[in-house]
């Protein structure tokens, strides 16, 4: 046994085994998506004939507005991501830098409300939106605008908390210098904080985007129309709802829906991980 083997063999064995574990379900989805029979059964690990029928179905069948679902998901998630970061960043800045009465209590409330099992406040959210619907049908129950409002409220706590952690790590010398030069808090925010924070704002926006894209329960409860559904709710129908156990289109749809998320994630994973553990960007 050479020294190389002794030192490195176990590393490769561990790596390969865990990679197989990680890849197995994903590989299965890929071959299912190219399999015309629509079952998740593996006939052989190397697909014999490749069919694009499932993909074609998604884009041509009129009963399956897949493109609309994708568009809904992307629009809702992007809007929530950008808006919640814009609003959240301002709050985070105030909590981190400005002095005011009740700041400590505010932070504690913020932390506490995040621990409430949000799913269980669902009925209350439902009642509120039902009432909103009676006077403003455009933003009430069953509308995407209403769902976005709820997502924004829900994203607020987490985002303010994450962003505050980051603002804390920006050295105070910078804004003290700006203050001496006569800048107001608002100017400090726009001219010093925002440029410095841009990369982190992007990461937090991205996490909001993924979180919203992944949201299922509220979306299913709120979006009743076939046309207004998000991709997660729409695809779930293939295996749980009216189409029942139709794995082929589900697999194809999942792959298309996952590709943008996976690409964004892989290309930014360095920032995502460091941004969340260390407080990230220096100076």
């Amino acid at each position: 046994m050479t020294k190389w083997l002794r030192e490195n063999l176990w590393r490769h064995i561990t790596g390969v085994i865990m990679c197989l574990f990680a890849l197995f379900p994903l590989y299965l989805v890929v071959i299912t998506s190219f399999n015309e029979t629509g079952s998740l059964k593996i006939t052989s690990f190397i697909p014999t004939d490749i069919s694009f029928a499932n993909y074609r179905l998604l884009f041509t069948d009129e009963r399956i507005p897949y493109m609309t679902w994708m568009k809904n998901s992307l629009v809702i998630a992007s809007f929530v991501a950008v808006t919640s970061v814009v609003i959240g960043a301002a709050s985070a800045f105030a909590f981190s830098r400005l002095k005011f009465k009740g700041k400590r209590a505010g932070i504690q409330v913020l932390l506490l409300i995040q621990m409430f099992p949000a799913i269980l406040a669902l009925s209350a959210v439902y009642v509120i939106m039902e009432r909103v619907y009676t006077f403003a049908p455009g933003i009430g129950l069953g509308t995407q605008a209403g769902l976005i409002l709820i997502y924004l409220g829900g994203a607020m706590g987490v985002n303010i908390w994450l962003l505050k952690g980051f603002v804390d790590s920006i050295p105070t010398e910078l804004d003290e210098a700006a203050k001496i030069d006569g800048a107001t808090a608002v100017q400090t925010y726009w001219l010093i904080f925002i440029p410095l924070a841009a990369p982190v704002l992007a990461v937090v926006a991205l996490l909001s985007f993924i979180g919203t894209f992944n949201e299922f329960i509220l979306a299913r409860l709120f979006l009743v129309d076939m046309e207004s559904r998000t991709v997660a709710v729409g695809l779930q129908q293939f295996i749980g709802g009216q189409f029942s156990e139709n794995w082929g289109p589900f697999a194809a749809g999942s792959i298309i829906a996952s590709i943008p998320i996976v690409i964004i994630f892989l290309s930014l994973q360095r920032y995502i991980v460091s941004g969340l553990t260390a407080g990230s960007v220096k100076g």
Binding site: R11, H12, T14, G15, M18, C19, A22, P25, L26, V29, L40, K41, I87, A90, S91, F93, A94, F100, R104, I107, L110, L111, I113, F116, P117, A118, I119, L120, A121, L122, S123, A124, V127, I128, V132, T134, F135, L149, L152, G153, M156, G157, I160, V186, Y189, L191, I210, F213, N214, F216, A232, Q236, A251, S254, S258, V262, F265, L266, V273, T277
Partner: protein
Amino acid sequence: MLTTLIRGKVAFVIKAISLALITAVLVMLTQSAFAQEQYAIALFLAIAIILLNYTYFSKKRVPLKFFLPGILLLTAFVITPILYTVVMSTYNYRTGNYISKEQAIERIKALAVESDANGTAFDIVVGKFRGEFALLASDINNSSYFISTVSDRIPLDPESLEIDEIGVAQSAPDFIPLPPGKVSSSKAASLRFKYEGEYFLTIESLNVGVVLRQTLEYLQPTDQFRSLITGALYSDNGNGNYANVDDREEILEPGWRDPAWFTNFARLVQDERVRTPLFSVFIWTVVFASLTVVTQFAFGLLLALALNKPIRGRRIYRSILVLPYAMPSIMSILIWGGMFNTEFGAINEIIGRQIAWFQDPTFARVAVILVNLWLGFPYFYLVCSGSLQAIPSELLEAAAIDGANPRQVFRRITLPLLLQILSPLLIASFAFNFNNFNLIYLLTGGGPKQQLDGEIAGATDILISYTYQIAFGSNIQDLGLASAISVIIFIIVASISLYGVKRSKVLESFS
């Protein structure tokens, strides 16, 4: 830079215009909310308008400028629902007791009707007679016709009517029929038209009217219902129902939501049918969350250690290993659900057995843990890799010089240090999995369920999915009890997380 350009007057004009627009929209919403009698929402919107304008036009209140939008959103969609849930936990808010007392009284009155001995019904046309809502009723067997308003019943001469081939009168002098599409939404649908004595005529469907009489009357001064048939009295039983004064078990439906104070919380401890499932679900929740954190951390750490050296192909390993974390988790969970299928699932195919994964409690639990391991180990691999780099190499070298073998170095130095660095993340992960609703709901639905005496707790149900069942399940929905459990979960998770926060000293900067 854009911000430096738009200062002073230009900035003020932009601010004023956007505020004016927002205010206009909000005022409009407030008005329509008020018109629809949604006073709480109208009040909230009005306060929001005042706060917005005051904050952004005042030179003071600088901090409020920054967090007002966030606070308004949080208040509307997070804090209010939480408070509502807490309040609901003290109410008997469940199937049969959803509405307010006033609504319940109206419903009881509306439901307390019975048809006469023959079940008399007429073919009708709904319309207006001399400006009043009226029914044009036809008794086709006896060829007798009349018009009935709320106060009067007017017999008609068949000669004056337009009668169709089956003998139903379609129009009469001074009678203007309502368009059929308008009937169910018009006030006429709930009116009681004059018939005979205590009997009245009401609209059953578009063309049919039935003869009914009231069986219960509400006695305002004593807040009681009296049966007009038997004379029995029903009074408020203090529990959200009217109950017969002689037989308290006999209650009128529906009931109303009524403050029950701590009854819901007491049921958690006292009611055998609530306590037993709740206890076993709680134990499994703790076991599930602990096992998840331990397995995810162990595999993540193993990988981080294995790939901590620049071996060949490390980048490829890394890219593949984070894939489970990068995939939208909903899709992954659903796919795993299919893989565990007994007949055509890939797992049974590979191990060559016919295991009914989701029908057996033990197998179902193993499956849940395994899937969660797949979902979560990449996260711990990433954070462990990062933290391993943060451990000073001098420490490890010094230990090696002192004669420690690699195993000892790991057990005595690396692991304790890692645990210390990562303890906030481990606690956060525990708290997250304690409430990991999506996984359980989408993978097993909480099953397999015990079918004994209607109990709804499944073997893989965790507290939050169990509570969801209680609140929104298909059997009896008990929001009051569910809210009480939510409050308990909240206290547990908050304690765990606050402990974690204290350890990581996040709040130190505020003291």
